[in-house]
Symmetry: C2
Subunit: 77 residues, 2 copies
DNA sequence: CACCAAATGTCCCGATCGGTATATTCATGC
DNA sequence: GCATGAATATACCGATCGGGACATTTGGTG
């Protein structure tokens, strides 16, 4: 539960399903390719920040920077 | 107040200075190029996630995902 | 003026990303 | 158990872009 890409990916997936969206739907909404979304959710560490932000934005999520070990409650449950 | 790249960049710069590091020093510590660090701090939106995480890690910072408009106190203010 | 930190331009290699077809996984129904 | 359909994962290709190193320039300061 740090900020490894895998965690972000899971948060994305959880949020996406929470909104009842499929990968193609979210990908379209975020303006990215489905392939990218798949890899993002699977925790690919080398994704581009802007595309990731686009996805998070489409999900109503946001990135925050904070000191390590300062996690809050589950964001997207 | 979202999570635009510029915000992250500023957080990085502030934290770096707070630790009394120069860009080359932090870049070396994070295992990235100086060029990258400069662009990251300046808010380049297309940086790669893994490199950004490496820098944040070197600074003792962490990336978190949360609902929009849920920013906490500045990390290294 | 010299010095230090920072920003920028160029060159070049390598990796990412997008679209599609295909495989694989999953859940559900018969 | 097996079939059916949907969602998701992977491979290929080509085009684009990131980022490392170097040198240079700019800006601030003693």
């Amino acid at each position: 539960m740090h900020s490894p890409p895998e965690t972000i990916g899971q948060a994305v997936r959880t949020a996406r399903k929470g909104m009842g969206l499929t990968q193609p739907e979210l990908a379209a909404a975020a303006g990215v390719g489905v392939r990218f979304l798949v890899e993002l959710e699977r925790g690919k560490p080398t994704v581009r920040l802007d595309r990731m932000l686009a996805v998070l934005d489409a999900l109503g999520l946001e990135l925050q920077v904070g000191p390590r070990g300062h996690n809050h409650a589950g964001p997207a449950r």
